[in-house]
Symmetry: C2
Subunit: 459 residues, 2 copies
């Protein structure tokens, strides 16, 4: 068993050098150049080779568990000290730990990515431009990804697996509480992929703010940045790099209860959307209720959510429709564009479907919006007119997720409209390439007197 090394360069932070026999990159720029070269070598590799790399990673997670647990123990000892001083919460500490069972689960996750259909080489279009001149549009890897993520060991293997499956090289920047674990994981991942002929430089890791800042300047070497984390992180990165960023800033999701509605259905949907997992971006933050049903519906809603410990906020329009005892449970709403991220829900009465859509467009984050209605016309209008990544009818906003959507794995959720929107699967890590096969065709022949005509036949 080989030793795990963690040798930061230039003081205490920098890029991970590995202990392999290959030359080690001496800085962020060199690491990114090697990642670009690895990406170009990886791109044409067949599916079997990429899947073999994932299998090799899965195997090493089991075989090398002692190495990994030893590295993790160092992170945990430091984390315990941080918990003692209040620098780290117990909840965040709980995510850092590796066990044999956790490693087995991580290996299974990597194999599950291996079983997904190949996102590469899909024939997205095929057009005959003229006889013997055939155009094809194919899915190909993006190139080099930079992923900045939370302090979770399983994120290292999952992100590496997604990147390799889609033929991309990846530079990882893990949360600082798992740096030693991540370094050990990446070293083993590099050995594993090299053992099947995939370049080790396809996966690399760096630490520290300065190294990330340098990476984000390398717009010719990095094709996409994926920040996983807080809105502040995403916005900071968007503001400081010219590289495209895949991420979501906010999840201010609404549920609109229409005038024609099955009350029980709406209560169940809202309950789930708020309480199933309040901290995530697809949880609901605001419920809009049509004034025609507010007098009936609001008391039932406040009662049901009150039992679940939900803090309810509203304005006088809401309180006026509640018996005094329930009205007293509803605090004053401060604004309509807060992502509470906890068991807090804002309520508002609206005069119409139009007013609901207007509220959603004004205060929402275009993430996920849902209507509860038994009126098919209202449902269709909501689906058509609401401008968001996911728009739903009679379903909980919590379904907006790559796994639930059947994408197999979730790379992230995008509230951008560019490149990928909503839950992003492996497809979001691909781009396209036009392939044109001719027999000496020249453009000048298609112009002027006696010009040839394009056939433009789709095949």
């Amino acid at each position: 068993m080989r030793p795990v090394s963690y040798e930061p360069i230039e003081g205490s932070r920098g890029v991970f050098e590995g202990t392999g026999t290959e030359e080690s990159p001496r800085g962020v720029g060199e690491m990114a150049e090697r990642a670009r070269a690895a990406a170009r070598a990886l791109a044409p590799m067949p599916l079997q080779m990429r899947d073999a790399a994932l299998e090799a990673i899965a195997v090493t997670l089991i075989v090398q568990q002692e190495v990994l647990l030893a590295a993790n123990a160092v992170d945990l000892a430091l984390a315990d000290a941080m918990v003692a001083t209040g620098e780290l919460s117990a909840a965040n500490r709980a995510r850092l730990g590796l066990t044999a069972a956790k490693l087995a689960e991580m290996a299974a996750q990597v194999r599950a990515v291996g079983e997904l259909p190949d996102p590469l080489g899909r024939r997205l279009d095929a057009i005959e431009l003229d006889r013997g001149l055939d155009l094809e549009k194919r899915s190909v890897p993006l190139g080099v990804l930079a992923v900045i993520f939370e302090a979770r060991p399983d994120a290292v293997t999952q992100i590496s697996a997604l990147a390799l499956k889609s033929g991309n090289a990846v530079v990882l920047k893990p949360g600082r509480e798992v740096e030693r674990t991540a370094a050990a994981l990446v070293e083993l991942i590099r050995e594993a992929v090299r053992s099947v002929g995939v370049p080790a430089e396809a996966v690399s890791v760096l630490f520290g703010r300065e190294a990330v800042a340098e990476l984000l300047t390398l717009s010719s070497l990095v094709d996409l940045v994926i920040p996983r984390g807080s809105r502040a992180l995403v916005e900071h990165i968007q503001a400081t790099t010219r590289i495209p960023v895949l991420g979501h800033a906010d999840g201010i999701c609404h549920i609109y209860v229409d005038r024609e509605v099955e009350q029980e259905l709406a209560l169940a949907v809202i309950d789930d959307a708020k309480t199933d997992y309040p901290a995530v971006c697809n949880a609901a933050e605001t419920v809009l209720v049509h004034e025609a049903v507010a007098g009936d519906f609001l008391p039932a809603l406040v009662t049901r959510l009150g039992v679940k410990g939900v803090t309810l906020l509203g304005d006088s329009g809401v309180r006026d429709r509640l018996p005094r005892a329930l009205a007293e449970q509803v605090g004053e709403v401060q604004d309509w564009h807060t992502e509470y991220g906890d068991l807090t829900l804002a309520l508002r009465v609206v005069a119409s479907l139009d007013a609901a859509i207007e509220h959603i467009h004004r205060f929402g984050s275009a993430h996920t919006e849902s209507i509860c209605t038994s009126d098919p016309a209202a449902a269709e209008r909501f689906l058509q007119e609401v401008d968001a990544a996911s728009v739903m009818v009679n379903a909980s906003t919590r379904f907006a997720d790559g796994f639930r959507y059947g994408l197999g794995a979730e790379v992230g959720v995008s509230t951008s409209r560019i490149h990928a929107r909503g839950p992003v699967g492996l497809e979001g890590l691909t781009t396209t390439k036009y392939l044109l096969r001719g027999h000496g065709h020249v453009a000048g022949d298609y112009r002027g007197p006696g010009a040839r005509a394009f056939t433009h036949r789709r095949g």
Copy 2:
């Protein structure tokens, strides 16, 4: 006939206010907000309505030609003065003028966009998540586009037509030499689209650097910036905005002449790729020749292109393979990453296909690359391994163009890997929306003991 007004605000530059009866926006922010509202109103409008708007624009270009020619006459008078002082070239002056025939051609272009297939509402995916819980992924408009373009009147109508066809609102920033013409065109376009029920604010225009700079700060209101113009313009905009930019920085295209090649075919392809239209981005800048055929091929190439007036550049590897008389025609190449954009071509001898690919990756701009070969294995390797938006076999790089590719209309060419790559048609102006239709489905039912299973059936 209504008068054309051009009333800049706040001194000499600003947004065009129009003379319609609607309230006029008083600044860039308000214009962008109105564009956002118009985009939301436009998005669900059916194809017939969007096409009716294009037809109304085509009609107004003919019916209102006197108004347009009068506005254009003012621009032309100013342009003539600029030509006299040397501020404007005669070639650029020639692009500014409107005539009845030119207006008819512009109307025909707008109608041609109307005849393209609808880019919206395409069902890109459909998955049953569970019984009664159906997910659909549809193409929808991006929202608000900002297009910064050259001083050409026809660009105003063409860009407006592409935006409206794809359900987007657009803010136009024309070159300053056509401001009066553009203002008149936009006013008529707004009237025309309003006449069929499409919001006039879907098309607006602004002038001056300060107004553009303000627009580029409005990242919550503008979804995509399309700069049409020089590399310097594209790079300046990329550096100054957080809004995604669709554009290409460079077109450094190569043709590689393989060791097994039909010499006549390669000569014809190179001739076309260099001389058909040297100023555009898909013209070739460098030819790489395999050393095994260089001794035969280079003399033939230098002779053929010399006759066409092409300035040839190379190094000693090239000159050593030429008879002295031809070697003297080949100047010294300064570097391998210049986009000449004129009748200049760099030549280099390479030792192998791998060396050619390495040169292309090192010095190319990932725009369009072509191989001339009769070896199918070399052709496939080149197609697979070369990382570029378009990769070709035995065809001129000049085919890399939206019209030739059968996309119907070209929004631009993208050398980005994100969102759209290569020639971009109407599809590049769309994004996606997930629609989920349920019957009270909640996420909590799919977890824990007795959990329901997703079916994830693609339909």
